[in-house]
C-alpha cells in the first residue's frame, strides 16, 4: 500500500507533463479552427437570418418569409447570372480538365525539361485573379491586344472582339479562368499518371495495346477519383467567381457577363438591398452544397469500400 501512493502521484504528474508538452499542438489546431469556424459559421447564419428580414441599407429584424428569394429570382440580373454560371461553369471545367489532362499526358512521356515546363504551366496559379483578369482584359481588348497585333502584322480583316461582344463575352472569362487553372488540373493528373503501376503499361504493351487504347482502356480509368476531385474543386471555384469577372469585364458589356457573386455584390453594396443580397448569397450557398454534398457522400462511399477491401 505504501508503494501505491507515490506511483499514483508519479502517474498524474506524467499526465500533466504530457498535456503540457502537447499544448502547442492544441493551440495550433484549435485556436485557428475555432476562429475560422466562428467567422464562417456565424456570418453564414447571420446572412441566412438577414435573407428572411426586410433589411435594406442596414440590417433590421422582422420576418418576410421567402419574399426576398422570389424577388431575387424574378430579376433579369439573376437569371442572366445563373445562365452565365451554367455556360461558364461547364465550359471552364471541361476545358481546364481537357487541357490539364493533355498537358499531363504529354509531360508524362519522360521528356526533357519537365520540371521547367511543369513550373511554367503551374505558374498562373500563383497569380491573383485580379491580375489575371486585368492582363487578359488588355490582351482581349480589340484596340490594344491580340486583334491589334494580328492586324498590325498585316491581316487587317482579323477580328477578335469577344470582349465587347454581348454573346461571346462570357467566353473571355472562360479563356482567362482556363489559363489560370489548367496547370492545377495538370498537376493533379500528372500525380495520378505517375502513380500508375509501370507493370500495367508493360502488360498492355505485351497484350498489344497501341497508345490510344492504352490510355483509354488502361490508364485513364485509374484517374477517375482524381477527375472527380478536379471537377469539384473547379466547380466550386466557378460558382464563387467574383474578382476575375470584376477585373476582366466588370460584368459587361451591359450585364452580359454577370455571375451570381456579382449580383450579390450589386444588391448588397450598390443598391443597398441587404436582404436581397443575402438571399442571393444563400442561393449561391445552396448551389455549392448541390456540388459538395454529393462529393462528400461519394468520398464517404469510396472510403467505406477501401476499408472493406
Amino acid at each position: 500500500m505504501t508503494h501505491a501512493v507515490p506511483a499514483a502521484v508519479q502517474l498524474s504528474r506524467q499526465g500533466t507533463l504530457s498535456a503540457l508538452r502537447r499544448l502547442p499542438e492544441y493551440l495550433t489546431i484549435w485556436v485557428p479552427l475555432l476562429l475560422s469556424a466562428g467567422h464562417l459559421v456565424s456570418f453564414a447564419l447571420w446572412t441566412i437570418w438577414v435573407s428572411f428580414t426586410p433589411s435594406t441599407l442596414l440590417p433590421v429584424s422582422g420576418w418576410v418569409g421567402l419574399r426576398n428569394y422570389t424577388s431575387v429570382m424574378a430579376t433579369r440580373n439573376w437569371t442572366i447570372a445563373f445562365d452565365n454560371l451554367l455556360l461558364f461553369g461547364s465550359g471552364f471545367v471541361l476545358l481546364s480538365l481537357l487541357i490539364g489532362l493533355v498537358l499531363a499526358i504529354l509531360l508524362d512521356q519522360r521528356i526533357r525539361g519537365e520540371n521547367v515546363l511543369r513550373s511554367i504551366f503551374l505558374y498562373p496559379m500563383a497569380v491573383s485573379f485580379v491580375v489575371t483578369g486585368t492582363v487578359w482584359s488588355w490582351l482581349l481588348n480589340p484596340g490594344l491586344g491580340i486583334q491589334k497585333l494580328v492586324n498590325g502584322l498585316g491581316w487587317t480583316a482579323f477580328r477578335f472582339d469577344w470582349l465587347i461582344d454581348r454573346d461571346m463575352a462570357i467566353w473571355t472569362i472562360v479563356i482567362a479562368a482556363v489559363w489560370q487553372s489548367s496547370g492545377f488540373a495538370m498537376a493533379l493528373f500528372l500525380a495520378g499518371l505517375r502513380s500508375v503501376d509501370a507493370d500495367l503499361v508493360k502488360a498492355a504493351q505485351i497484350d498489344g495495346a497501341g497508345p490510344i487504347r492504352l490510355y483509354r482502356r488502361v490508364i485513364l480509368p485509374t484517374l477517375w477519383p482524381i477527375t472527380v476531385t478536379v471537377v469539384v474543386i473547379q466547380l466550386q471555384f466557378a460558382i464563387t467567381t467574383f474578382d476575375l469577372v470584376r477585373a476582366l469585364t466588370g460584368g459587361g458589356p451591359g450585364i452580359a457577363t454577370l455571375l451570381p457573386a456579382l449580383v450579390v455584390y450589386d444588391f448588397m453594396f450598390q443598391r443597398g438591398l441587404l436582404a436581397r443580397g443575402a438571399a442571393a448569397a444563400v442561393l449561391m450557398l445552396l448551389t455549392l452544397l448541390a456540388v459538395l454534398l454529393p462529393y462528400a457522400a461519394w468520398q464517404y462511399a469510396q472510403r467505406r469500400k477501401a476499408a472493406r477491401a
Binding site: 500495367l200 498492355a204 497484350d207 482502356r217
Partner: protein, 368 residues
C-alpha cells in the same frame, strides 16, 4: 529446337553496365529460372527478352527468329508480373481477353479461350469480378490466365510469387510446376528465391552483377556449384565453406582442416591432386554432416567420422541444425531431431565426403 537464344547481350544505363555479355540457350519445353540477388540484372534481362527494354548490343532469338526489332506484342510471348498488373477497371474476363481484343479476335473465339483457361485455373466463378474484389492468390491465378490464354512460344514470369504469403507461395509453386508438366510450355522465370529456383527449374541460370555464374540443371548447380558465389547462394542453410589445404597422405589426396592433434582430414577426388600442398576452400553442404548412425552410403571411404565440439543447436522440428567447430571455423550440420547434443560437448559426426566441393581461394572457381 532452341526456343530462346540470348547471344552476347550487353545492357548499359549511361556508364553503368547492368548486363555483361549474357549467352543462354533454352530448348522448347525448358523451365529456365534466372536466379540471383537483387540488382544482378535478371529482371532487366527478362525485360529485354520481352522487348520492354532494348539491349545495348547482342541478339535475342525467339523460336528461331531474331526479334531485336520486333515489338513486344509481336514476339509471341506472354508475361506474368510480380504486381500481377491486372487492369483495375476491367473484369477478370476482360483482363484475360484484352490481348485478343487488341488483336481483333472474334468474340466467339475469345469466349471459347476464356472458358478453356478459366477451367484450367479454376477461376470460372471469378470471371465477372474486378481485380479489386480478388484475394492475392486469385489475382495470381488471373495473371497466369492472361498469359496462358495466348498460348505463346515463350512464357516470362517476373517474380510472380513474391507478393504471396509463405503458404500460398508453396501452393502456387506446385501449381505452376504442374501446369508446366501438363502444357509442356517453355518458361523463363525470374526469382531471387533459390528454393523456387531449385523446385521449379529444369535449368537454372545463377546471375551475379550482370554475369551468368552457372547455367545448368538444378542438381548440378546444387551439388557441383561452379564457384563460391553459387555455392553460398543456393541452398538454405548455405553450404559450409572452410579454409583447408590439400596434402598427399599414403598416396591419396586429403583435405586438412585445422592443425596438429585437432586437424580433420577428408578424402577428396584424385583430380584435385594438382593442388597438393596448396590452400583451397572446401565446401560441404550441411546435410552431409549428420549424427554418426546416419547411413549415407555403402561405398568404402565415402563416409568419414569426425569429432567436433558443438557450439549451438537450433531445433527446427523436422531436424536439428548444429553449429560445429571444425579447426578454427564454424560449420553447420543437420542431425536427426532425436539426437540431443549438449552445448560445448564434443561429439562424433558422420560426414558424406562424396559431395565435397573444392574451390580456388583466389578466384573462387571450382577445382573439382
Amino acid at each position: 529446337m532452341a526456343a530462346l537464344t540470348i547471344r552476347d547481350v550487353y545492357k548499359r544505363f549511361h556508364s553503368v553496365e547492368v548486363l555483361k555479355g549474357i549467352d543462354l540457350e533454352m530448348d522448347s519445353g525448358d523451365f529456365t529460372v534466372l536466379v540471383g540477388p537483387s540488382g544482378c540484372g535478371k529482371s532487366t534481362l527478362l525485360n529485354i527478352i520481352a522487348g520492354l527494354e532494348r539491349q545495348s548490343s547482342g541478339n535475342i532469338e525467339i523460336g528461331g527468329r531474331i526479334v531485336d526489332n520486333i515489338a513486344p506484342r509481336d514476339r509471341d510471348i506472354a508475361m506474368v508480373f510480380q504486381s500481377y498488373a491486372l487492369y483495375p477497371s476491367m473484369t477478370v474476363r476482360q483482363n484475360i481477353t484484352f490481348g485478343m481484343e487488341c488483336r481483333n479476335v472474334p468474340r466467339v473465339q475469345r469466349d471459347e479461350a476464356v472458358g478453356r483457361v478459366a477451367k484450367l485455373l479454376q477461376i470460372e466463378a471469378l470471371l465477372d469480378r474486378k481485380p479489386g474484389q480478388l484475394s492475392g492468390g486469385q489475382r495470381q491465378r488471373v495473371a497466369m490466365g492472361r498469359a496462358l490464354v495466348r498460348d505463346p512460344l515463350l512464357f516470362l514470369f517476373d517474380e510472380p510469387l513474391s507478393n504471396l504469403d509463405a503458404q500460398l507461395r508453396a501452393e502456387m509453386r506446385i501449381e505452376i510446376k504442374l501446369l508446366h508438366q501438363r502444357l509442356g510450355s517453355t518458361i523463363v522465370y525470374v526469382t531471387h528465391d533459390q528454393i523456387e529456383a531449385m523446385t521449379l527449374a529444369t535449368r537454372i541460370a545463377v546471375m551475379r552483377q550482370g554475369v551468368v555464374q552457372q547455367f545448368a540443371d538444378p542438381e548440378t548447380v546444387y551439388n557441383r556449384p561452379a564457384n563460391l558465389f553459387v555455392a553460398r547462394f543456393m541452398g538454405a542453410p548455405p553450404m559450409n565453406t572452410l579454409a583447408a589445404r590439400l596434402e598427399a597422405t599414403r598416396g591419396r589426396t586429403v583435405a586438412v582442416i585445422g592443425y596438429g592433434e585437432a586437424a580433420i582430414r577428408f578424402p577428396v577426388p584424385p583430380e584435385a591432386e594438382g593442388w597438393n600442398g596448396r590452400d583451397v576452400v572446401l565446401g560441404i553442404r550441411p546435410e552431409c554432416i549428420a549424427e554418426p548412425t546416419r547411413h549415407f552410403s555403402d561405398l568404402p571411404g565415402a563416409v568419414t567420422t569426425i569429432v567436433a565440439s558443438v557450439e549451438m543447436v537450433e531445433p527446427t522440428g523436422a531436424e536439428t541444425i548444429v553449429v560445429l567447430r571444425l579447426g578454427d571455423e564454424r560449420a553447420l550440420g543437420r542431425v536427426s531431431p532425436d539426437v540431443r547434443h549438449r552445448l560445448s560437448e564434443t561429439a562424433q559426426f558422420a560426414v558424406d565426403t562424396r559431395k565435397i566441393s573444392l574451390f580456388d581461394p583466389a578466384s573462387g572457381d571450382r577445382i573439382t
